[in-house]
Amino acid sequence: MTELSLQKNKLPSEKFKRRITFFSVSSFVIVAIAIQLDFNPVLFFTEGHHLVNLLGEMLPPNMEVLWEKTNVFTSIMETLAMAFMGTVIGGAGALVLAFMAAKNTSPSPLIRSVFRLLMSIERVLPRLVMILIFVIALGLGPFAGMITLCVSTLGMFGKLFADAIEEVETDPVEAVYAIGANKLQAIKYSIIPQVIPSFIANLFYAFDVNLRAAIGLGIFGGGGIGFEIHMAMKMLRYSDALALILFTILLITVFEKISDVLRARILREETLS
């Protein structure tokens, strides 16, 4: 047996040298970026007292603001309503778009390309830009926020649904065509049943995403809780702000749980029926 020897470049000492180089270079890059951005961790300690002060002013959170001021309650409802409408209308639209854009259900390749293009534009357009435009066109308030969510949901989920439709199993579809069905019937009886579970799952996910987005949009004029939080902070009503933030966390968590339960129930029924 020939004497096997260790590969030079795999020797532990070589590996160690390479590891050191990697860490040095990465550290250098990180420090360079930090300096470029004026990111100075020392600030944490020198300016940190501002954070502590802020915390001091925020605690204890003024939970009464939640029920004292009726417009806060309305804002909460507005945020939920925005998310709901955005998901429902956006989701319905996304479904239509998806059927137009999917290879196996599109009426014509031209329509397919057009819709794919539309969806990719909507998807890449940041919600920030959309809300700014819609606020100018439709005024401040939840309406602009709702439309923003509709459009962004369209873009985001149009692609997801279109992909799901294209990834449907071809055997059941062929079977339906084989017995003489036309395209619409094939869609109704073999494609739609296959995509419903993922459609429903995605719808719930969309609601979660939209709920968080609705809060963010409020800051730019979209109304709802986001707007209230921003106002509270601007007017230095910090304990109010904390109360609203804590409530927001609660809201998102609660709706997440509700979504999970509802989705599990609906999916179970779908598979049973």
Binding site: M1, L4, K10, P12, S13, K15, F16
Partner: protein, 263 residues
């Protein structure tokens, strides 16, 4: 030398898994532990390895005039003792994404300075020794392959190399050939047998024929007790006594394997 004395393992609900296991092992022993399922073979293995603490009894490890009791240790002291116990498993249990030689060197993780393992890692000298260990199990040429790309038989060899790299007092084997096809099983047993010269090897096997062929001593455990401790001439009656009804199942599954092993 290992001395297992009256080891009892009782579950919190009162069930006794081991009812007083006693035996000894020394250099040169290649012991095969047999017994029906649920008899307590794996529990014994886990006690010998320090994974489980017996409820009562002692496990003495004697080497170079020093005696350590595995059952009395916890935490750091236990880790120190476990450094010197090698074990190979049914499922090989290697770190799949690391290379073969790195897996072997992991064997000494317990023995090197923790600070060093965190920063520098292993030394070149240790890498050389690991390569020797791999050559001993005849897979030196696979040293830099990722474990995930190896076959079952090859992976088990890596596991054995890892164990002997530890320079342990004893080598344990928990059903080492159960996941291997008959020809690889044979090769592994052939590999293990000469290692017994340096340290006692205690292995659990579910096939009595294989144990009988390669081991030089058989210990049979039934219902938590040692019912046989002697040479490898296992008569039919003895097997029936040990296994009871299971014997038929074992014989049925073992016939084809047996043929390959003996051929």
């Amino acid at each position: 030398m290992i001395e297992v004395k009256d080891v009892v393992k009782q579950l919190p609900n009162g069930k006794q898994l081991l009812k007083g296991i006693t035996f000894q092992a020394k250099k040169g022993d290649f012991i095969g532990i047999l017994g029906p399922s649920g008899a307590g073979k794996t529990v014994t293995m886990r006690c010998l390895n320090g994974l489980t603490q017996p409820t009562s009894g002692h496990i003495y490890l004697r080497s170079n005039g020093k005696t350590n009791d595995l059952t009395c240790c916890k935490g750091k002291a236990l880790r120190e003792l476990r450094q010197k116990i090698g074990i190979v498993f049914q499922g090989f249990n290697l770190v799949k994404r690391l290379s073969v030689i790195e897996n072997v060197m992991i064997g000494r993780l317990g023995q090197i300075n923790p600070l060093r393992s965190l920063t520098y890692g292993f030394t070149n000298a240790e890498a050389e020794e690991a390569l020797h260990a791999l050559e001993k199990v005849k897979i030196g040429h696979l040293a830099y392959r990722k474990v995930a790309s190896l076959s079952g038989g090859e992976q088990q060899r890596v596991a054995i190399a890892r164990a002997i790299f530890q320079k342990p007092y004893m080598l344990l084997a928990d059903e080492p050939i159960a996941n291997l096809d008959p020809s690889n099983a044979k090769k592994i047993m052939k590999l293990l047998k000469p290692l017994a010269k340096d340290m006692p090897i205690i292995g659990v096997f579910h096939q009595p024929e294989i144990a009988a062929k390669y081991c030089n001593r058989i210990i049979a455990i039934k219902e938590g007790k040692v019912v046989y401790d002697g040479d490898t001439n296992l008569s039919e009656d003895l097997l029936v006594e040990i296994y009871g009804e299971e014997l038929q199942q074992i014989e049925e599954t073992s016939t084809s394997q047996e043929q390959l092993v003996y051929s």
